[in-house]
Subunit: 271 residues, 2 copies
C-alpha cells in the first residue's frame, strides 16, 4: 500500500537506526506516508553489494521502492596493502559497480544483461526473474563516503589492538575524496541525484570529531548532516513528506458518532 | 525475504522513531534480520484501529508478520465528558476491540466473521480477501497504555491554551490503570503476550517526568522501558535477534579472492 524508501549501503547505513541515526530520522519524517527499509551491510564494498542486488531489488517485485539511497565507498576506499586491503575496490571498479547498481534499479533486464559476466553462475537465476523494466521512476540518491579522520582511525585501532595497531592508516581522507568525486561523477553521468557528503562535512570546522565517532562512522551530528542532505534531495525529487497524503484519515477527521464515514472515502478504500 | 515485525498502535507508536525512540531501537536490534514496520496512528483508539486491520494485515498476504505489537488504550481511556471525549471507548469495548484485533491476526476468516457486524459496509470487501488462516504462528504482544501524569497533562494543556485550558483532566492515571488491567487480562484470555507498561513505569520514583514528556507521551527514558520490555518478550517468544541468522554473509566470511563462494551457499540463494 505505501511506497518504500530503501537505504542500501554499508555499516554507515546499517547503523542508521542507532540513537540519532539518519535512517530513523527518515522513518520518523515519513511515518504514515512511506516505509523506510534498512538494507545496510557493515563492511561491504560495491563489489559484494552486487551479489545482493537481485535479492533486495527483485526486478519482478511489482512494487519497487519509490526511492533508494546507495551509500557505499567507505570500504571500497580502504587502501591496498594495509589492514583492510580485502575490502579495497579500485576507483574504476567502484564507478562501474555503482553504474551496475543504478542500471539494475532503473532499467531491469536490459541493465542486468550488461553485468552478467560479473556473476556468471547467478545468470540463470537472474534471467528467470528479470523483467524488461525494473523501475524507471525510482528516485536514486548516490551518497559519497564521509571524510576520514586518520588520527581518529588510529586512535580507534589503538583502542582495539593497543601497541599492535598498525601504524600506517588503512584509509586516508585524500584517497576517500577520490572515491567521493568518482561517486558524484557517476551520479551525473547516470542522471541520478548525489550527496557529496565528503565535501559537505568538511565545510564545518572540527568535522573530524563533530561528525565522526572513530574517524569513519558517524556521530549523531554526522547523522544529522546525512539526514538533512537526503531530505533536501527527496524534496527536490517530489518526495517531500509534507506533500504526501497520510495513509489513513487524521484522527481529527474522524467523526466519533460515524467513524465509518472517514474510512469510506474512495481514497482509502481504493487501495 | 525477511520477517517483519509490525508496530501497530497510536501516537506512542507513531512517534517511536523519534530520537531515542523504542521503534528505532528495535529496528536497530533487528538490522539484517527482520524489518520493523511502523504502523502508528496518532489519536486513534481501538475502535478506529479496527478500520485499518484488513488494510495493514491483509489475511491473504502470504507473508504475514512474524510478530506484532498492539499498543492502544491511551486514547480509549480519555474520559467521557471531557475535552478528549471523542476518543473515549468504554473498557468493555476496548477489551472487545483488542480481542478482534488478536483474532484477526491469529485466525483470519473465522475470526473476521465474528466482527462483521461492527463494520457491515466493509463486509464484502473483507470477505473477498479473507482466507481461513491468517497467521497462527504470529507472536503478538499487547502493550498497556503508559501511566498518566495529570499534572503534566495540565501543564501541557496550559502551554497550548493558556488560561483557557480545561481545569478538569481529560485522562486520569486511575482510569488509565483500569484499561491497563483490561489489556493484561485480555492478553491472558487470548493466550498472547503482554507488557504492563502502566505498572512497570510506576515502579520507578519520579516516573512522571522521567518517562513522560507531557504527562502521556514518552521521553527517551520512557522509550527505553518500552524497548526493554518488548525485547524481553521477543526473546521469550523465540525471536531473539542474537539467535536469528544474518540475511547475507557477514563481511568477514567473504573471501576477497572468491566472493562468489560466500554468496553461493544454499542458505542465501534458496530464498
Amino acid at each position: 500500500m505505501r511506497g518504500q524508501v530503501v537505504l542500501f549501503g554499508d555499516s554507515i547505513t546499517e547503523q542508521s537506526f542507532r540513537q540519532g541515526g539518519w535512517g530513523a530520522a527518515l522513518a520518523n519524517a515519513y511515518a504514515r506516508k512511506a516505509d523506510v527499509v534498512l538494507r545496510g551491510y557493515g563492511g561491504y564494498n560495491t563489489k559484494w553489494a552486487l551479489f545482493l542486488l537481485h535479492h533486495i531489488f527483485p526486478p519482478d517485485s511489482g512494487r519497487p521502492p519509490i526511492a533508494t539511497t546507495i551509500f557505499f565507498g567507505a570500504n571500497d576506499a580502504a587502501l591496498s596493502g594495509r589492514t583492510s586491503e580485502r575490502q579495497h575496490v579500485s576507483i574504476e571498479d567502484y564507478k562501474q559497480n555503482l553504474r551496475k547498481i543504478v542500471l539494475h534499479l532503473k532499467l531491469g533486464r536490459r541493465a542486468l544483461e550488461q553485468w552478467f559476466h560479473v556473476i556468471p553462475r547467478l545468470r540463470v537465476q537472474i534471467l528467470e526473474s528479470a523483467t524488461d523494466e525494473c523501475s524507471p521512476t525510482m528516485q536514486i540518491v548516490l551518497i559519497t563516503p564521509p571524510p576520514v579522520c586518520e588520527e581518529g582511525r588510529h586512535a580507534y585501532a589503538k583502542s582495539l589492538y593497543g601497541e599492535n595497531a598498525m601504524k600506517l592508516p588503512e584509509r586516508t581522507n585524500e584517497v576517500t575524496g577520490q572515491y567521493a568525486s568518482a561517486c558524484v561523477e557517476t551520479a551525473k553521468e547516470m542522471g541520478v541525484f548525489s550527496v557529496d557528503l565528503w565535501s559537505k562535512m568538511q565545510e564545518t570546522d572540527g568535522w573530524q570529531k563533530k561528525f565522526l565517532s572513530d574517524g569513519l562512522h558517524l556521530t549523531p551530528d554526522g547523522n544529522a548532516i546525512v539526514y538533512q542532505e537526503v531530505i533536501k534531495i527527496f524534496n527536490k525529487a517530489g518526495l517531500s513528506a509534507d506533500n504526501m497524503p497520510l495513509d489513513f484519515p487524521h484522527h481529527s477527521e474522524i467523526d466519533a458518532k460515524n467513524p465509518e464515514g472517514a474510512f469510506q472515502q474512495k481514497f482509502y478504500l481504493s487501495r
